[in-house]
């Protein structure tokens, strides 16, 4: 028989960095670990692939997130594989980290009712001791989110189905930590052809704001220019 049968296998896990923006703050979903190692510490939602339940690793990520939030995220993509002999006390470990986005309101109530999960503001992470190398993974995810925000409309997945340009602007500014011109966003919304104008407007303390929504079959457009850093 071939050699792979005799090679020691590493642990393989799937973890997700689920972001949302709420109250002008970028937050990440953390869960309190119920088991060793790092029992009781905050860490990323994730776990082992279950080859009877999961068709692939994307499903593993979704399933684990659903366990914690009762929801599947609006957006999910692979972030990176992190591996090494020392990152897990149980032995050589390989983690596939996902990066996900969700509208805060979608999951707010469920999260609030569970003691094991919380939305952690990204700024409060440095004072927190997290399980494994999860803080670095979150930082990696944040960089990716920031970068993608410069050339795509990814932040719409942090908003409800119908949203205004003002809301989009706030979310983008929170993510990239820089002001952005409303005009630029309007140009991009127009040019991308990803969105449709709702027949509703909502009040926001001044002139009524146009509601937009993502077209049902829209693919995410990547613009050829970044917003300036």
């Amino acid at each position: 028989m071939v050699s792979q049968e005799t090679i020691k296998k590493p642990l393989f896990t799937v973890d997700s960095v689920l972001f949302t923006v709420h109250e002008d703050t970028l937050k990440v979903l953390m869960v309190k670990r119920a088991q060793q190692p790092f029992k009781g510490a905050w860490g990323l939602p994730g776990g082992f692939i279950d080859i009877d339940l999961d068709q692939n690793t994307d499903m593993t990520a979704r399933r684990k997130l659903a366990d914690k939030t009762g929801f599947t995220p609006n957006y999910l993509e692979q972030l990176q594989v992190i591996s090494g002999p020392d990152r897990d006390p149980r032995g050589f470990s390989v983690t596939l980290a996902y990066f996900a986005l969700v509208a805060h309101q979608s999951v707010a109530s469920h999260i609030d009712s569970v003691e094991m999960a919380c939305w952690m503001p990204i700024s409060e992470l440095k004072e927190l001791t997290t399980a494994f190398d999860h803080r670095q993974i979150i930082e990696l995810a944040r960089q990716r989110l920031k970068q993608k925000t410069l050339y795509s409309m990814l932040p719409v997945f942090c908003l409800p189905q119908k949203f205004t340009i003002g809301q989009l602007m706030v979310v983008i500014e929170t993510i990239i930590e820089k002001r952005v011109q409303r005009k630029s966003l309007m140009r991009r919304i127009e040019a991308s052809e990803m969105f449709e104008i709702s027949n509703e407007k909502i009040s926001s303390g001044g002139r009524l704001a146009q509601l937009y929504s993502l077209k049902p079959d829209a693919n995410i457009v990547n613009f050829e220019r970044n917003l300036s850093i």
Copy 2:
């Protein structure tokens, strides 16, 4: 004890898509499989992680490439994890695919001497039956290479240490399948500050061409604008 001990583990492998450009053609390194499954078929170089030899999955990719080419690539980055119950006849399989670049001349002689490895022009892939889902993985890698070529100088890793703008232009045009302005490349070389002007020039049938080389400590700059598609 916790449940992960009882869960069936998927197979975990690391494969690499190693590109080079030679004779105005984008080529990918394929190896003839020595073992089942798909024994005798062409596939991507790769294999199982060896937790005694490899500090992480990057090392696995490098080690497996070195086995086939006697070389480590000039550039290596993670591409994507592909997983599923049916992609490997032995059972549920998880593959971490890498994407790598090398100058053709670096490895040409070694490859030529080995019957088990060859540089396959990307255009000839569709007529070839490849192991597993390796053709899709290659296509994925090609898309990524193309995209990154629009906003970075990644193609320099397909060139020898000293290269001319003309050579760079050919490689870029081969990858993105579109003509590009020499002027644009010169502007980018200047602006990125990644390169230094060699004190040599080489002949190329006309006026001598300036040789450039990557600064030893240079990081890869991402431009804020894409080349047009």
